[in-house]
Symmetry: C2
Subunit: 230 residues, 2 copies
Amino acid sequence: MENFQNIRIAVDAIVFGYKNNNLYVLLIEQKFGLTDKYWALPGGLVKNDESLSDAVTRELHEETSVQLTFMEQLFTFGEDINRDSRNRVISVAYYALVDASNLEIKADTDAEKVQWFKIDEIPALAFDHNLILETAITRLKAKLTYEPIGFDLLPDEFLFSDLENLYCTILEKEIDRRNFRKKILSYGFLDQTEHFSPIKSGRPAKLFKFNKLKYNELIEKGFHFEIKFA
Amino acid sequence: MENFQNIRIAVDAIVFGYKNNNLYVLLIEQKFGLTDKYWALPGGLVKNDESLSDAVTRELHEETSVQLTFMEQLFTFGEDINRDSRNRVISVAYYALVDASNLEIKADTDAEKVQWFKIDEIPALAFDHNLILETAITRLKAKLTYEPIGFDLLPDEFLFSDLENLYCTILEKEIDRRNFRKKILSYGFLDQTEHFSPIKSGRPAKLFKFNKLKYNELIEKGFHFEIKFA
DNA sequence: TATATTTGCGTATAATTAACGCAAACTCAA
DNA sequence: TTGAGTTTGCGTTAATTATACGCAAATATA
């Protein structure tokens, strides 16, 4: 074995979006040699003078130009020393959210190579990216139940039914609409706006906003967010 | 900036132990130059052909010879690009537990340089190790409330009052002894042994064992461990 | 034998969760 | 214009769970 450390360090990003009762993840097309193409998580090697989170932000900017509402370190993948067949690469994965109004691929990116994939229509990805994605989904599900990150997937103003559907589809659980509403409203961090949503059918519904200030005040007082399902 | 990546990757371990109503952490003495000495978390650079967790295990073995009951990746510290003043080093931190019967430093280690520190008597540590330790304590506290890792800090057979005290001291909370017992017993993953503990005073108490098999069965059925405090 | 101490089991009450009813406010089609 | 279909918003009740205690049993010790 060589005496010097010969390990590269990379970052990868799992960017989640939500729209029309579906969870999406952002993938980019990566070429290997002349013929091999694989979809992969956006990411790349960390530069010497940038922090880990800066590296993620930079890579996402270079490749996709999405606007994040939330980002958090997920896990560092370095168990399989051959996860990249070319070199030993350890990858620090971050997962992030974008809100529904940002779900369109911007024009300044090469749309051919950047695409949103429905979470249940993910192809075989490069390296161990399927594993990384699975880990991220598991974490997202868990986090949804104990921190109010669902709001980061929704537009600024949203319907209660949107919130409810988001929880049901991502967590793949049934829930009583009325009890859910009662519980969330009892927390007191949602502001009712004066706006109504253009509806398809049924009684017009008020739009709600997540009040982060009020939420933080509650946290100060020892409040603990929690959504449980049967 | 250079074109090649010049970042080292290390692992650090936060090893927790519990005894006599106190949480302990394992530290080693590290020398810098001729005069400077600092206590630090055990750890070191990852070798080219070993996985991250292998690196942690090796370093712990080289430096301390403790027997772990639990280990999990904590977080990767790479935000401060100068956290090590000599080189850019990114550190993947793991936290681990040892049970009370393993809390003595083995004879084959240089006891001068390896020591258990009470959690509220931690000196200024090398690098950003105080931050890493704080992160680990926060995680340990959280994990105690939603996974049964408290048993990994106790000997194989333990008193109910030991378990209760462990939760109270680590989480720094009061709790009703009788309700705590009732709740834990209702889960059904504790086996009562026929043994009694040598007591100091009061009614002799039965020793209990954590039944991991039963716990796993419960998990299969959708059971969710949880200890909440006011 | 009385006292202090800790265990083990119990019970009453408060709080929370789960299950469901139903009218209001709209759209759309006949 | 009316009725059917749909979704919202607010409510009630029963079941479950958490909280706050009471107290006798079993030991050591004075």
